[in-house]
Symmetry: D2
């Protein structure tokens, strides 16, 4: 692991500056006192330079390898497209950099295993971007679970509905499982601490863009996950909700139920001639701004204190295994065990 | 008191069949097994006959005195205009009938005292239509107060906003105090058990129909009520709310706060392109249907069991005293003590 | 169909006076002006007599056939154990009585078909006790669907959680599907108007009483239902919720989402040293009192007006088909088509 | 006004490092990219040095005059005790520094006028710490007002309840008006744009600590404020709420009502054996963290852009005038006009 004084800020390189990368870059530059954005990496000519200048980062690279070789970089935040994640994790780890990687950490289990092996061998911190664990409602629910207040989980639910606006032509196969529901699979695990998924049944369809169904689009899905403690989880997703971005959770246990996610833009309520009206959040960055900052803060803290990250490689692997089983379940229209996909 | 077997239904005459009277008539005829509607009284030719036929009541009268003399009548429900209340209470009591009277039981304290004396002399049950005490939220809050869960009240609030549609030309002076806020004055007392009002400051205006202000209309008012236990109550009213009928309460005590009244038409919530929408109740009879039935059920029960009514003459007097003090406070723009008005 | 004047009350015989039967008897005797309870049937010696006396019903029988032969009986309300339903429906229909039957109308599809044939042949009104359709939240959601406000349904959810206290030894096999989730199966259909279920996947377990699992108890279940319009429904049930009786619904469509069921006992909210507290409903009769009355009112109205009942034989059959498919899906751990069970 | 390049960060000196000062210092050092904390001022020996080191501020002073003379200081944030505010504002303005001052900007109107004159003469930005204007619920309500959605305000309410733990011996006279309710007086004005207060009636008592009443403590108060557009405002405060920190608002206008402040700690809801439970916010810094940052961000922005601050000297004066009238109203138990106190 690269050397740095635990009292000084952690030097971070941002890799990828798309929608989510830009948000993380802003956070590293302006919202996290313990981090210092020291490099921006983007392959598009000029992009990294422009952002580095805007954020006051001393270095701009077009190749991630340059960041891996930069001594000022203690850690990387990977927000490149998912298909590059595993390779970037391996490279960063081999360069001795701590790694925060957006979800999914990889698109195939074999790649993910290679990445996990690399961070283990390098003994660097590794955290995956399962941000919902850092959202206040979810963290509060987990605290109740840990205190025993909810009892043993019996039924769980996790919902993700995006506000729409996607281009069906650019959605890779299984995106709804690998990139959207992977949050919900992790959330079900987070809300059922210590339990493991054993079998998955999924059903999915193209209900938002039905004409794209023949080309393999799945934009709406329901996944049932059986856990080894008997609990049954339901993960639901849809790529378009008329009312904005909708993220909710529920854990029902032997002693009670916690529900998460109210989707309100603010607590202001207007009562008028047509009744009562409440604004709803329209984007993930509006709804989850705090969680996006908190997950990076936790990562920086793990790097500084050399304590393990709160969401690591095993969590990434468990969620990806459920995603793989779900995709196969849809194709074969039968329940699929985790053992079948996660040898 | 007229004789009747406590096992048989209580024979009730309805006096007055306007908006509220019609609702009570329907309740007596169809919603209350222990009551039997035996007479309808209305001075308008043919009205009582028509309603009696519709409700299966055996008798129809144009003069309340006929009901007071009818042996089948054990009790009366008075829903005539407020200016006739006191006289009708006296007549009913002298006829030996138990009396339920819509609020306000009288428009002047002297009249009310005469009515109270009459029911006492006749030893008949007497209940005033302060229905909010019978609404589930308010009853639940009072139960918490009685259990000590709220602690000693410090601040109280009671709100009444009507849905509008009133005719400013037909609103008698001080209606907002005598007929609307009288509910809130009673509610403040109900939520501050055992305490008495000592001083009142009120401010009021014609904000809904400003052109009528010169003719004495007051359609919006705020009244501060100081109680002898130090608690301060606020009663608010307006004759027109764009979103329907709005009745709310709040009691803040040393150990916590209870709030009452959410105004929703149902628990169904719709989230759509403009955000989240909830229907609001549009009328008192929609919002308080249960309370209107419950208050008559309690009255019938008091008659059958010969136990005192839950809201009696003293409550009517206390609320009317606050109303009188509030009206004077507005005229003289100064705090007015209850002692000044309620000698 | 038995003759009666549409202006006079409908004479009703109550068949079965257990928990739900007693509630319906009370409603028929005291809450529904258009109905007259004319007979009570219960096989236990003395039970019918006692209740008939309490409710003022002129006749008490130990055999339903006596009610079917009673000319004062225009209609029956069947609340006997489910295994007797089909036979009672047939008998009542053959006696020319209109039939309201508690859900499930039968435990087997063949029996149900016989019952449906009988009511058709007799041309009598037939309504099944799917009360949730009459609960205000659900009725309001359906109204939005009918107005097109929700758009085309994509994802649906219906939840039933009982407050517990059941005796595992007395729960027949598949009760969670046939008697509990059958409400949710009907609700999913109610919230997806015009669509038909095509395939079901169910998973279930004994999580409340795990020691009874070997004896076939299933007390917790999740059922995924695919509809022919592409919508995916989720029905969830558990026999024990620590917080009381929990009934909720959700329909998410192309234009928005309606949610139903807030489970609050009243709208009163208490804020105290431990935070904010809201009482939850503890029983179905507390939460659904209005729906229980409304469904009987609708039935009486259908009888009087000779219009078809709002929830009839086809609805009973569709819900039972889903229940049958769900039970088989659990046994065989595979998706089961409706066509397989509902030949 | 001191010179600085609008592209470079605004150099800020923090004056006073108590509870609120420490929070502002943290914000300036770590949460606001456009600000740079360049000096900390605290009269207690060693305090400024310690905090300056922690926050990386280059200068630490025991005398504010040193900051006023420091060329690196473009602006000051005053969080010293209220009795020093006016004098500090004058000093800062004379030094050419922009001024953010915690509320109240002064304890007497004459002092405040002197401060306002000084900032005007120096032509520096001046903002007062009325943070509620920057809280999301309140900002959203004001947006609706500005769009005309609420119509003309008729009734307004603003509530502040502190979580308690105060020392009655250290509460100066009229603190509840000058330091607590001054937020609510400003909020009433904020929710009634363009209107001016004309008359005030206040009632107050020592209900939390009744034994201190004789020594002049007022810990609970209700203030009615009449505005020149006819609207009636109610401001309420109490120094101790069992359930935490409670800040709410309501504006009821001709076209509808906006309500603000739900007091929840998170959106997580737990339903258990005792019903439903929601955590409430326990401190202002928990509930208003975002508003505290947003008000400083707005100030920094005003300094950089040389646009007027959103809450300036006139707002401070208007709120203090209401506070003065309220205090006199309590002493004289009569309505007091603003004209009487704010010559």
């Amino acid at each position: 692991m690269s050397q740095f004084n635990s009292g000084s800020p952690v030097g971070v390189a941002l890799i990828g500056s798309g929608r989510m990368g830009a948000y993380h870059g802003e956070t590293l530059a302006r919202r996290l006192p313990g981090a210092r954005l020291v490099a921006v990496v983007d392959p598009a000519p000029g992009t990294a330079e422009k952002l580095a200048a805007e954020w006051g980062a001393p270095a701009a690279y077009t190749d991630a390898a340059q960041a891996f070789a930069d001594a000022a970089v203690n850690a990387v935040v990977i927000a490149a497209p998912a298909r590059f994640h595993a390779e970037l994790i391996v490279g960063a780890a081999q360069g001795g950099k701590a790694v925060f990687c957006e979800k999914p950490a990889a698109l195939e289990l074999a790649e993910l295993d290679r990445a996990i092996d690399a961070v283990r061998a390098a003994d660097v911190a590794f955290q995956v971007g399962f941000n919902r664990r850092f959202a206040p409602d979810w963290a509060a629910a987990r605290a109740l679970l840990d205190q025993g207040v909810v009892g043993t989980p019996r039924l769980l639910r996790s919902v993700t509905r995006d506000p729409g606006g996607f281009d069906p032509a650019r959605v890779p196969a299984d995106t709804i499982f690998n990139e959207t529901l992977i949050h919900d699979f992790d959330t079900l695990r987070f809300l059922n601490p210590g339990a493991g998924a054993v079998e998955v049944y999924a059903t999915a369809d193209a209900l938002v863009e039905p004409v794209w169904k023949d080309r393999g689009l799945l934009d709406t899905a329901v996944v049932t996950v059986k856990f080894d403690n008997g609990a049954i989880g339901i993960a639901e997703a849809c790529f378009q909700a008329a009312y904005g971005y909708d993220v909710r959770g529920e854990v029902f246990g032997s002693a009670g139920m916690a529900t998460m996610g109210d989707g309100r833009a603010t607590g202001m309520v207007f009562s008028g001639a047509t009744g009562r009206a409440i604004d709803t959040a329209r984007s993930d960055q509006e709804l989850l701004a705090g969680a996006y900052t908190a997950e990076l803060a936790a990562f920086i803290d793990a790097v500084r204190t050399r304590r393990p990250a709160l969401v690591g490689g095993e969590d990434a692997r468990a969620a990806l295994s459920i995603a793989k089983a779900a995709a196969r379940s849809v194709r074969e229209n039968r329940p699929v065990t985790i053992a079948e996909v996660a040898k």
